[in-house]
Amino acid sequence: VADPVPEQEGVNPFKDVEVLEKKSPEEKRKFFTQLVSSCLRCYACRNACPLCYCPTCFVDESRPQWVGKSTDPVDTMTFHFLRAYHCAGRCTDCGACERVCPVGISMRQFTKKLNKDAFDLFGWEAGTRPDQRPPLDVYRVDDYNEFVK
């Protein structure tokens, strides 16, 4: 159908994450607060996500109820942060979450940082090795953390 396209080289997929990493904790907080400020809690991101397969999501638990249901920014942030951490090392950055968001939130800003960490700390790219368990799911003797040794 078409000629082969040359493999791209020297592509940095984490340019935006690097910008974010340079911010101070206060600036980061401001950035994330702004990022999710328009969130409706419709959970389209979660429901479109191929990773999200829990029978009952923690935000839907009612006994006990972990997260408030109102539009309080703390609850909205809790949802987005916990979801992102829950996907750490498993998110393939497919982008389904952003595509379905009715209010255009770039929630990949959360997951990409975690993807970068998984790559930097464990040399792990989710979705590339079907025969291996994700890094947060296994014990490795060469783990960089002292406490697990």
Partner: protein, 345 residues
Amino acid sequence: MMNKTFKKEGWAKALEGLKDKLKVYVPVKEGDFHNFRLLGNGRKPNFEFQNTRLSPKSVVLPQSERMFEYTLDESKEDAHVVKEALKDFSSQAIVGIRPCDAFSFELVRINFDNPQFRDPWWIRRMESTTLVGFGCNDPCASCFCTSVGNGPFSEKGLDALMVDLGDRFLVKSLTPKGKAFLEQTEFGAEADDAALKRAASLSGEAEKKITSKVPTEQLRGKVVNELFSAPFWERVSFACINCGTCTFLCPTCWCFDIQDEVYRKEGDRIRNWDACMFPLFTLHGSGHNPRDKKLQRVRQRFMHKLKYYVDKYGNGPACVGCGRCVQFCPVNIDIRKVFELMNGK
């Protein structure tokens, strides 16, 4: 009644001048889309849009509203007494609301204000709200307002109507409330005949641009149980991912959930928008869920709007044809198709 024209920057200045007298909600561009925001804090109204991403229903029915408050501190005299939380019912205006969204308040009213139940907060907020509509010169491709009882220049539910004449806005008052609003504005001029004529022709042109039509005439005569057990729900609901996009974006979705939130010894009773697409919506305390399958939930949403509402109130359907659910459903479930299926033979 009163008709005025405003140069475009004059209208922005006029609204700016009103913001100390009442709360003025205007369409504001935020990133790629518009939403209604309170004028102030340097926000600028922007009338270059087809429709706002969300309808302004939250101005009257906030997504989260503190209904009551209480204390559990037994050292206090009023411990465990549930008291009404302070609310703001001061005058407000929604300027630039599309006729479909204004019409939605008319459809929703029957739920909040009927002989059996009166929601005091919804009613008082509606009373303090002036709706200044904005005729749709260029309706979206997914709009079908003309088949569900309104239109791009419909005046139903509106106190005034703005028309974009290109270089200026024509603003027509339609009710005493609208007239009072217009009387307070500066920078306007008495509308001339040419402006009124131009508005009338824009209205006619806009109606012709709406090519999406849905059939509704058979809905009332249908047998509920036959529609309920129709085979097409399997197909309609197949792709649904159970998110709340359609419900939260819908101007006529009014369902809410009431929750108590307690911090230390102080508690609030809050009502939040809820969505019948969520499994939690109907989860009983016993653990039983009468709608635990998505087919049941999807069916409920359409049956409520297109059949139960119609039967119960002799009105409707409870859809204004704004097309938001059609545009933003992540899996392209199209209510226009459901109209055809439900209305079909």
